[in-house]
């Protein structure tokens, strides 16, 4: 169902969950990837285009150091991943922004790079943020090896064996990216350019393509080193093993501010997801074949949850509870699937069992609803930037606050813990950080995330004016409130644009914001290392480039790592 901008308005016939529920931090922090996540839509697009990857150049030595160029044709254009692989001492291997060297560095190039391009970009790309780039460079990224798994896979392949699938299940990737830059950063191509390229118009589409090609490079690199070591005895990764391997990612605080700085993009993403959920809940009945498909998917979810292993105690408890609840669901699942309005019944069942189970159920029920969900991704771009409405009166502004910001009014801002944290950019390689106002200096340079506090100040300012006074009059007297007024007015049009939680309160957990955004990317196996840092896996289960034409290329949600003997998703439960 292709959407157009004209059909991206909310469908009045659908009842969407209210922002006051959906935009709570715990709800955002429970999000799961779903069929409209960016990795899924990219794979469907590559599949529909019958895209065929080709190795343009491989110039790696026996240890895997050098460069390679992978070319992916897509919608009539060609895009090249230029990958530079370099030796890296263990002492230098850090996933933080402040790193200055990596195992591998990448850029996505618009077209086929010449030898001179590859040579010229070598110095720049391997130094990432220190470089200044031209518009042929579309994205910039870097990655570090999972040292243990990379070594294991190379050892196994060199000896003609497939790697141990249990070890793959425990880690899930050969490399993890630590940043993927786009949209004009350091002089690379602006999104305004890329969005006009067919197939790359969706949000983060170029970045997703980059990560997918990095995954292909990791296969190439491991097999290349194994071949150099094992010679004729060496083997390649089995297609199922390729599927079992995704790309890791380490994500810190840098991802969170994006959601606050791009409120209308956030609204679009959430609106699309909620529309897909609402449409799915309206399905009146399922055929017996459909019931059977969902029954098998439920098996997969169960196995996927079993393979989701983390060290973090809080997440460990959440996952344990999910496993327990999913097991309990199985006793009523078939009855619900056979009932009228089966997805409504299932979603209602889940909604009484907390945010995590509800989010999992949302992804589950929409998984095979391509007819009513696909195409909604066309509405996931930003409709417009927030806009000040100077003619609005104080009484109208009051109404917006009352209607959309009850969560903010409920916060007791007189308590010091209500503003204990502050978000800032460190001068050290511009690393985004979160400070404790009771211990650290720098709050005067914080990013503008104290929404509830700004509203409290605004209300005091509004009291000094008459109810018919306009925003223009208010801002002449209190120009510092331009930001919050514009934000409030914007939320009246785009209710999912605002996160309903105190981002500077002592209780704020940045991991909730990270997970929300990463779920739209399509991340799985969230593995928090603290409340402000997580590892994830991308594209685990996705068809490799050699399998993109597979008719079942889209069937990889809730992937379960299994040995090659079990070769299709339906057999893996």
């Amino acid at each position: 169902m292709q959407q157009t901008q004209a059909t991206c308005q909310q469908d009045d016939a659908l009842t969407l969950r209210p922002a006051s529920d959906v935009m709570r931090l715990p709800a955002l922090g429970a999000s799961f990837a779903h069929r409209l996540s960016f990795k899924r839509t990219l794979i469907r697009a590559l599949h529909s285009q019958k895209a065929e990857l080709r190795l343009h150049e491989v110039a790696l030595n026996d240890e895997g150091f050098g460069h390679a160029v992978l070319v992916m044709p897509f919608h009539g254009k060609e895009y090249a991943l230029i990958a530079y692989s370099r030796p890296l001492a263990d002492a230098e291997r850090t996933d933080r922004v402040i790193a200055t060297a990596w195992d591998a560095s990448f850029c996505l190039f618009d077209g086929i790079p010449s030898a001179a391009d590859v040579a010229q970009l070598s110095e720049e790309v391997t130094h990432q943020e220190a470089g200044q780039y031209h518009e042929k460079v579309m994205t910039l990224s870097r990655a570090n090896k999972s040292v243990r798994l990379f070594a294991h896979v190379v050892d196994a392949l060199a000896e003609g064996q497939q790697p141990d699938h249990d070890k793959i299940a425990a880690i899930g990737y050969l490399m993890r990216t630590t940043a993927v830059y786009g949209n004009g950063k350091f002089g690379i191509a602006d999104r305004d350019v890329i969005k006009n390229y067919p197939g790359l118009d969706g949000p983060f589409r170029a970045e997703m393509l980059t990560v997918y090609l990095i995954r292909e490079f990791t296969f190439l690199l491991a097999e290349h080193v194994a071949k150099a070591r094992g010679g004729a005895e060496a083997t390649s990764l089995h297609p199922v093993m390729r599927r079992n391997l995704g790309v890791g990612n380490s994500t810190g605080l840098g991802m969170a501010p994006f959601l606050i700085h791009h409120p209308n993009l956030l609204h679009s993403w959430i609106m699309v997801r909620e529309t897909a959920i609402a449409r799915t809940r309206q399905r009146a009945a399922l055929s017996s074949d459909e019931q059977q498909i969902y029954h098998k998917l439920a098996d997969r979810v169960q196995a996927h949850l079993e393979q989701w292993q983390v060290d973090d105690a809080g997440y460990h408890s959440i996952i344990a509870q999910l496993r327990k609840e999913w097991t309990a669901l199985r006793s009523v699942l078939d009855d619900h699937l056979a009932s009228s309005y089966p997805f409504e019944a299932l979603f209602t069942y889940a909604s009484t069992r907390g945010d995590d189970f509800t989010a999992l159920m949302a992804s589950f029920i929409m998984e095979y609803q391509s007819e009513i969900c696909d195409g909604l991704e066309d509405c996931m771009t930003q409709a417009r930037a927030p806009l000040l409405e100077p003619a609005m009166t104080m009484s109208q502004l009051h109404k917006i606050i009352q209607q959309h910001y009850q969560w903010a009014l409920a916060i007791d801002i007189s308590k010091s813990e209500a503003r204990q944290q502050f978000w800032y950019v460190s001068e050290e390689k511009l690393e985004p950080r979160l400070g404790d106002a009771t211990k650290e200096a720098g709050q005067d340079k914080e990013m503008p995330f104290a929404i509830a506090h700004y509203i409290a100040d605004l209300l005091t300012q509004m009291d000094s004016l008459g109810s018919d006074a306009t925003v223009a009059e208010l801002l002449l007297r209190y120009p510092q409130s331009r930001f919050i007024v514009r934000r409030l007015q914007n939320t009246a049009h785009f209710p999912y644009a605002e996160i309903a939680g105190n981002l500077v309160g002592a209780e704020c957990r940045p991991i909730d914001l990270l997970r929300c955004k990463l779920s739209f990317f399509g991340a799985s196996k969230f593995d928090p290392r603290s409340d402000r840092w997580t590892r994830i896996t991308m594209f685990q289960g996705a068809p490799s480039a050699a399998e993109l034409s597979d008719p079942q290329a889209d069937d990889w949600a809730f992937w379960v790592v299994a040995p090659p003997a079990l070769s299709s998703p339906s057999e893996m439960a």
Partner: protein, 200 residues
């Protein structure tokens, strides 16, 4: 210096924040600067001068005849305030003379009125008219300091690379730097990912 348009916008926003502007004003001015640079104007001198001048609301816009009068040598905050009044009442016009920052002011006016698509009807010696969703407003002649060659309703294909002088970008970076918090061992140790082993 040649930059991506978005890189210029991002740096300008930080720079104006660093110069003391509130976040939304800095954002508006950065958008205006990016826009005018994309139109091929050299905004270097205006950006440098306005950053050096810092934030300042010189004199409030005041009622004058059929509209609002901006003070002489209006600052960018004055221009923003004037823009607010101008847009708050369809029956009013905005009078301004001797603008200190004509390019940035022009960009501020154009973007405020035309958020969905930028459409300009221009001709030499004619006042600039911006068109937004069928609503027309005329900016007084005194603002018509540079020609912007677009046709009404035409789809815009904006340049994606912009040029500012090296000295301007140096100043922009200097002010942007003021928004960064000095690092310390404590803040480094409290950063996301600190203390974790990445050799696993």
């Amino acid at each position: 210096m040649r930059l991506s348009a978005n890189q210029l916008y991002a740096e300008l926003k930080k720079a104006f924040c660093g110069a003391g502007y509130d976040f939304a004003s800095a954002d508006d001015i950065a958008q205006a600067g990016q826009f005018m640079a994309q139109l091929g104007h050299d905004i270097s001198d205006e950006v440098s001068a306005s950053l050096a001048a810092g934030y300042g609301l010189a004199t409030s816009p005041h009622k004058a005849g059929d509209g609002w009068q901006l003070p002489l040598d209006a600052s960018l905050p004055d221009m923003l305030a004037g823009r607010d009044f101008y847009l708050s009442d369809d029956s009013l016009t905005l009078h301004c003379e001797a603008l200190n920052y004509p390019l940035l002011s022009h960009g501020l006016m154009a973007l405020a009125q035309s958020p969905y698509f930028w459409s300009f009807a221009t001709a030499d010696a004619q006042p600039l008219t911006t068109i937004c969703q069928g609503h027309h407003k005329t900016i007084p002649q005194t603002l018509m300091l540079r020609k912007i060659a677009f046709h009404p309703g035409a789809a815009l294909s904006m340049p994606v690379r912009v040029v500012v002088s090296d000295s301007c970008y140096e100043l922009v970076s200097h002010y942007a730097y003021k928004t960064y918090v000095p690092s310390s061992e404590a803040s480094r140790a409290a950063g996301a990912g600190a203390g974790l082993t990445d050799n696993d």
